[in-house]
Structure formats: structure tokens, C-alpha cells
């Protein structure tokens, strides 16, 4: 269908052409405000379908021959090309993008097939095939992939859904944060991580919060890992100062220039990964990086090179893949309506990101969320939470009452996570579940028990309410 590197499709009387792979992918992408803002989106519904038809006929191989962003200009492109595993790619090397969709949906393609294939896939291949998929395809194929990671517990085991407990506070007040952590633990949240977004990014506050979580963990022998979501350079400094750092966090994007806007490059991430590993704090595994991504970040840094936001996001997943992360979280609705306008766009983007990440072999979770200026509400979040869990999402957020009082946006709550665990028969991470039962938070059936005065974690709550100092058991 292409000549001289151009791509064409004819719909009825009308012939559409696309001048490059970058343009073809962008025009084929489902409608979203960020691509329209960038001026790369299809201009009509028919142009979008024409692009999908041309894309369906494109050999997967082409993505290895024609980088979207030149190899010389971008270290993410170099990472993708240099780490591509040709042997792993072989089972699908002869397929077009359209044939690849059909292949993924076959009965025989199962968790083992997908695990073996993952190193042979590039982000551009998975982004391309996702554009030909309906939501149900994204759900079904992702549900076949399984990615398990470990630090002090196992995330992504069959029939589990983990929760990142997100106890943020507008002034990083330790008592306020401890109250939210306790409430989350009493609701069975915190197995993915207890992860605090600090209000101020500095090393003193990082160390204070890290110690607070580590003392709590040790006091109750909780099989969990903690994280302060500060810049990676802050974490490195804290490690140098001897802080008990479990997970190391960083926001990442899919182009070198966008990562530079985040103040990072691959070498810095490698340094952080090495520093975390050197502490040897994991007990059942050593996956310790926690990455966050989200469609639109490259455009918002003016570093997208004309590439559509969903493809940029898949390239961010390639960055994550290089560092064996414990958790990769697509913060799907946080960026605002200029990138994802409404509930429909947020739901679609969440499914795409989860699908692409899982196909690339990543432990994907999702911050199912929105801001108050987006055309979305909690009903939309219910749908995304439910379909992502059906798709086998590794973890979601647990924010008290779904209302983050520091970041001013709405995510999912402890109750939301328990709703979907109950609905779809999911349990917390196995080690954490055992602990919850020992602490009388869950009963044998995995149902929540009412906290009893004077027992277990509620004794902790009593001390906390009595005064911030000395509330930990001696």
C-alpha cells in the first residue's frame, strides 16, 4: 500500500495518504484532545479509519527499519533499537500490524507465549496494534499476559489486585499521613506500596517520611514496601545519607527531550537503580523501581517530535522496562482535559496504557483518576476500575475517600479497591493477605472485619490520637 515511504488507503471514492510512519500512527489513533492540541490527529472519522487500514497492512518489521525519532537524536530510540531481541520477535516477524492483532486474539496465545514474546516487541509495535483494537480486545489480550514482580511481597500473582496506599497530606504532617496509612491498612490497602507524594521535594522531608513508614513497617512486621515519590536525585541523596529507602520513584516519558524536562536521563536512572540494589532491602525479590507515566507528558514538555501521545506513552514504557521495575503506574487522568478530554478518552487511554505495558512485560498498574476540569466523574472511574481489573491490572491507587487533599484530584479509594476485589474475586498480594488475616483486618473469606477497640492496628490508632509522639509500640 505504500510507495516511496508514503502510506495510502482508499475509502470509497476518497484516497487518503500519510507522509510518514509518525503521521500514520497519529492519524490512526483514537480521538483525543492532546493529539488535536498538537495538531497531529485525524481531521475526520474517515481519515482515521483510512489510517487504520493502511496501518493494518504495514509489516511489523517496518518499525525496526524506520525509527519514529531518529536514532542519532534520541537515547530512548537507541534504547529501543539496541535492546530489541530478534529471536523473541521471530514468531511474529512475518506479520503485518493487522495480522498481529488477529494473532494476539488466538486461543493458543497465552501467558507463556506473551512472556516469551515481550523482549521482541518494541513500543511502536504495541502502540500500533493497540490502535486497531477495540476496548474489548485491549482487555482480553492484556488479561492473558501475566507479569509478577517482588520486593517484600508478590505483585501480579493470579487473582490478586494490589493497592498503592497514597496517604498524601498538604503539609507532609507526619500524624496526618500516619492516620491515612492506618486507615488504608485497616481496609486492606498498601500491598503494592505505601507511597507518599511529598508536598515539598527536599531530602530532609524525604528522610523523615521514609523513616516514619519504615518504623511502622517494622513495628507490625508488615510485608510491604514504602516509597516517597520525590525526584530521583532526592532519593539518591537520601540513600547516601543512610535512609531506609525501599522503592525509588521517578516520572518518566517517552523521548529524551521530555525526560530532560523531568530532569533525568537513562544514566541517572541506572545510577538510581544501582543505588537501590546496593541496599539489598527486598526479601522475596529485588524489583525496586517505581515509575509513573501518563499520556501527554511529552507534548506538555514540547518534546513529542510530532509523535501521538499514546505512542509516546508506549515509548515511556520502554524506558521503564530497562530497569526491572516493581511497579509502573499510568496516571491516566491527572494531566487534564487538554490531553484527555472526558471519561471516554480517559477510559480508552487507561486500557491502552495497561495493554501496551503488559505486552512489553511491565507490571502495570493504573491511577484511575480525573481532575475537576475534565468531563469525567466517579461513575467513569468505576467503569475504568472495573474493566482494568478484568484485564488483570496489577494494582490501583487507594486514596482516602478517593480525594487527594494534597494533589487536588480524584482517584480511587480503599473502598473502590475493595468493591472490585469483591466483584471479581481478587485478593491482596499473598504475603500481605496473610498478614491482614493475622492482624484481624480480613476474615478467612477475605471480608473486612470491623476494627476492635484495643486490638491490633486500632491500638496504634489510639496512640496516634493520644498524641503524635511515641505512638509506635515499643
Amino acid at each position: 500500500m505504500q510507495d516511496n515511504g508514503r502510506y495510502h488507503a482508499t475509502l470509497g471514492q476518497q484516497r487518503f495518504s500519510f507522509k510518514s510512519l509518525v503521521e500514520l500512527l497519529a492519524r490512526a489513533s483514537p480521538e483525543r484532545s492532546g493529539d488535536q492540541l498538537a495538531g497531529v490527529a485525524a481531521e475526520s472519522a474517515q481519515e482515521r479509519i483510512a489510517a487504520r487500514m493502511a496501518l493494518a497492512d504495514l509489516p511489523l518489521q517496518r518499525f525496526l527499519e524506520e525509527p519514529l525519532i531518529p536514532y542519532e537524536d534520541d537515547e530512548v530510540t537507541r534504547l529501543i533499537m539496541d535492546s530489541h531481541d530478534r529471536d523473541a520477535f521471530r514468531p511474529v516477524a512475518h506479520l503485518t500490524v493487522g495480522e498481529f492483532r488477529d494473532w494476539l486474539l488466538r486461543y493458543e496465545v497465552d501467558a507463556a507465549t506473551l512472556r516469551a514474546l515481550a523482549p521482541g516487541l518494541t513500543p511502536e509495535m504495541v502502540a500500533a496494534v493497540s490502535k486497531l483494537m477495540r476496548n474489548q480486545d485491549l482487555i482480553l489480550v492484556a488479561s492473558k499476559a501475566r507479569v509478577e514482580t517482588r520486593f517484600r511481597n508478590t505483585i501480579g500473582a493470579p487473582a490478586t489486585l494490589a493497592v498503592r496506599l497514597q496517604p498524601n497530606h498538604p503539609t507532609d504532617d507526619p500524624t496526618g499521613i500516619a492516620a491515612s496509612i492506618l486507615d488504608g491498612l485497616l481496609h486492606g490497602a498498601g500491598d503494592a506500596t505505601v507511597g507518599i507524594n511529598p508536598a515539598t521535594d527536599n531530602v530532609d522531608s524525604y528522610i523523615t517520611l521514609t523513616r516514619l513508614m519504615d518504623e511502622l513497617r517494622q513495628a507490625y512486621a508488615i510485608p510491604m514496601q514504602s516509597c516517597v515519590l520525590a525526584h530521583v536525585t532526592t532519593a539518591l541523596e537520601a540513600v547516601d545519607q543512610g535512609a531506609p529507602v525501599d522503592l525509588i520513584f521517578q516520572s518518566i516519558a517517552g523521548t529524551e527531550a521530555a525526560n530532560r524536562a523531568f530532569g533525568i536521563d537513562l544514566a541517572l536512572l541506572q545510577q538510581a537503580h544501582d543505588a537501590g540494589r546496593s541496599l539489598g532491602r527486598g526479601t522475596v525479590g529485588q524489583n525496586l523501581m517505581y515509575f509513573e507515566t501518563g499520556q501527554g507528558s511529552a507534548l506538555s514538555a514540547d518534546a513529542h517530535h510530532g509523535v501521538d501521545q499514546q505512542t509516546c506513552e508506549a515509548r515511556a514504557h520502554a524506558v521503564a522496562r530497562a530497569f526491572d521495575p516493581l511497579l509502573v503506574n499510568t496516571v491516566v487522568g491527572f494531566i487534564g482535559p487538554e490531553y484527555l478530554y472526558d471519561g471516554k478518552q480517559i477510559i480508552r487511554a487507561g486500557l491502552e496504557d495497561h495493554f501496551c505495558g503488559k505486552l512489553l512485560g511491565l507490571p502495570m498498574g493504573c491511577d484511575v483518576c480525573y481532575t475537576n476540569h475534565a468531563e469525567a466523574d466517579q461513575d467513569d472511574m468505576d467503569i475504568l476500575l472495573t474493566v482494568l481489573t478484568a484485564a488483570g491490572c496489577n494494582f490501583v491507587m487507594g486514596v482516602p475517600g478517593a480525594d487527594d487533599i494534597m494533589l487536588s484530584y480524584q482517584s480511587t479509594s480503599f473502598h473502590d479497591a475493595n468493591y472490585v476485589r469483591q466483584l471479581l474475586g481478587k485478593t491482596p498480594a499473598p504475603e500481605f493477605r496473610q498478614w491482614l488475616q493475622a492482624m484481624e483486618v480480613l476474615d478467612e473469606q477475605g471480608r473486612l472485619l470491623s476494627p476492635q477497640a484495643g486490638r491490633g492496628l486500632l491500638k496504634h490508632a489510639e496512640r496516634l490520637a493520644a498524641g503524635a509522639a511515641g505512638y509506635l509500640p515499643q
Binding site: P170, G176, A178, A179, R447, A461, L464
Partner: protein
């Protein structure tokens, strides 16, 4: 089983944070009272985002407070376009460019802009009071002020072309902040030295959460005057000023 009957020590977690902890439940789900309380807070935020400011009435409030006003419009035609296209909210409409000449190169020390931003209700409730409090401090410093420029469908960076056209030393942009569940009527104050299009967020200073129950208006006016004094003497705003002052955040939404 119901977890409705919580023991007091658990309930007291609510005294330790504004986060929605220790909520009433039924099964593992939220009880009806909690569900409706959440939706009430969300509805306030939602209405704030879509609140249409009555600009003639706002201008009249400003005149009552002793300010001259100019009414300008960004290139974003309406709220949906404003939400989808932040770039349009940063540029002045053609008609607005034509309305500017009487003030062009009037060279005030401070160009005062009030924009609806993401919470028109914040501007209607608090902008005039804030500006009155600030004007007292500006008088003490003998700063010259522009008229209050009321900017419709405006983003923070809309203050750049306005300040440049006036030849102001500094733009103070007072704008409705993105509503949260806690407060739907917060103002943000963004200070930009030597305003001109192309200024980055790192070149601004921000005073956030300005409302009676957050950063109170009097205190915010004081901080604003303090920072402007520092900015005019150091001839900069942004990260460098933040490092010197160590009391405020930098970077708008």
C-alpha cells in the same frame, strides 16, 4: 456484615487529617451519607469550573473599590474551547488588542490582571478584597499600578502580552485556581518580572490557595507586596527569587 458501628478510637482518626479517613461503610462500600457528602463537594468544584463570570458586574465591583478597569478577552471563545486549548487562553483576542492602545506603554510598575481561570467564583468572591489590601501596601511603596485588567477565559500566561503592551515592570496575575474537593474558590497570584510572551513557568512566582480559609487575603496581599518588592529590586522572578525567599512555590498550572 456492616462496619457501620466503628469504635471511637478509629473514628478519632478524622481529627488528625482533613483526608476522608474512617468513613461510614456498608459491606466494603461507602454508606449513603458519605457518598452524598463526596458528591456535594464535587458538585461545588464542578460548578466553579463552569461558572460564567458576569464581567460587567465584576467591573462595577472593582470601580466601587476604587479601581479603573479594562475588559479583555483571550482567543478562547468559550469554556469548552478554553478547557481544550490552553494555548488560546494565553493569547489576546484581536478585539482586545484594539482596546489596549490607551494604556499601551503607560509603564506602570505593576500591571494588575484578574482572570477567571478555572474558578470564576474565586475571582468574583475575593479579587476586589485582595486588590484593596494590596493597594494599601503599594501606596506605601509608591508603586504605580495599571488599571485592573479583567481578562475573560484567561490562563496565567495571558498576563505576559498584557504586561508587555503596557510596558509594566512586573505583571501580577490574579486567577481562579483549579477547584479541588476542599475548596472551589481559591485564587492563585502569579508574579512575572519583565513580562513578555515566551516567559516560562520557572520565571514566575506563585502564591497559591488564596481564600479566607486557606491563605487569608490580607496575608496574601502582604506576601504579594513583599515578593514584588524583592522582585523589583533583584529585577527577576522565578526560581532564583524563590531560593532567596524560601517561602513560596514556583510554577503555575
Amino acid at each position: 456484615m456492616s462496619r457501620h458501628q466503628f469504635p471511637a478510637p478509629y473514628r478519632r482518626l478524622r481529627e488528625l487529617t482533613r483526608a476522608r479517613v474512617a468513613q461510614d461503610t456498608t459491606g466494603s462500600s461507602l454508606a449513603t451519607n458519605e457518598l452524598l457528602a463526596f458528591q456535594h463537594d464535587w458538585a461545588k468544584a464542578r460548578d466553579a469550573v463552569h461558572y460564567a463570570v458576569d464581567f460587567p458586574a465584576l467591573a462595577s465591583d472593582m470601580r466601587d473599590a476604587g479601581f479603573d478597569t479594562v475588559h479583555l478577552h483571550s482567543t478562547a471563545g468559550d469554556r469548552p474551547e478554553y478547557l481544550r486549548r490552553p494555548d488560546l487562553g494565553r493569547r489576546l483576542s484581536e478585539a482586545s488588542l484594539e482596546a489596549l492602545p490607551p494604556y499601551r506603554d503607560s509603564r506602570p510598575d505593576i500591571c494588575l490582571v484578574v482572570a477567571d481561570g478555572l474558578s470564576g467564583i474565586a475571582v468574583v468572591r475575593h479579587a476586589a478584597t485582595l486588590l484593596q489590601a494590596f493597594r494599601e501596601r503599594a501606596r506605601e511603596q509608591q508603586w504605580t499600578l495599571s488599571p485592573v485588567i479583567l481578562a475573560e477565559q484567561g490562563r496565567v500566561a495571558l498576563g505576559d502580552p498584557i504586561g508587555e503592551a503596557l510596558g509594566a515592570r512586573l505583571t501580577a496575575m490574579i486567577i481562579g485556581e483549579r477547584p479541588g474537593m476542599t475548596a472551589a474558590d481559591s485564587l492563585g497570584i502569579y508574579l512575572t518580572y519583565a513580562p513578555r510572551p515566551g516567559r516560562t513557568d520557572a520565571e514566575r512566582n506563585c502564591i497559591s490557595n488564596v481564600r479566607p480559609d486557606g491563605q487569608p487575603l490580607e496575608a496574601a496581599a502582604g506576601t504579594m507586596a513583599y515578593l514584588i518588592g524583592r522582585a523589583l529590586s533583584l529585577q527577576l522572578t522565578g526560581v532564583a527569587l524563590k531560593d532567596q525567599g524560601r517561602l513560596i512555590d514556583s510554577g503555575p498550572s
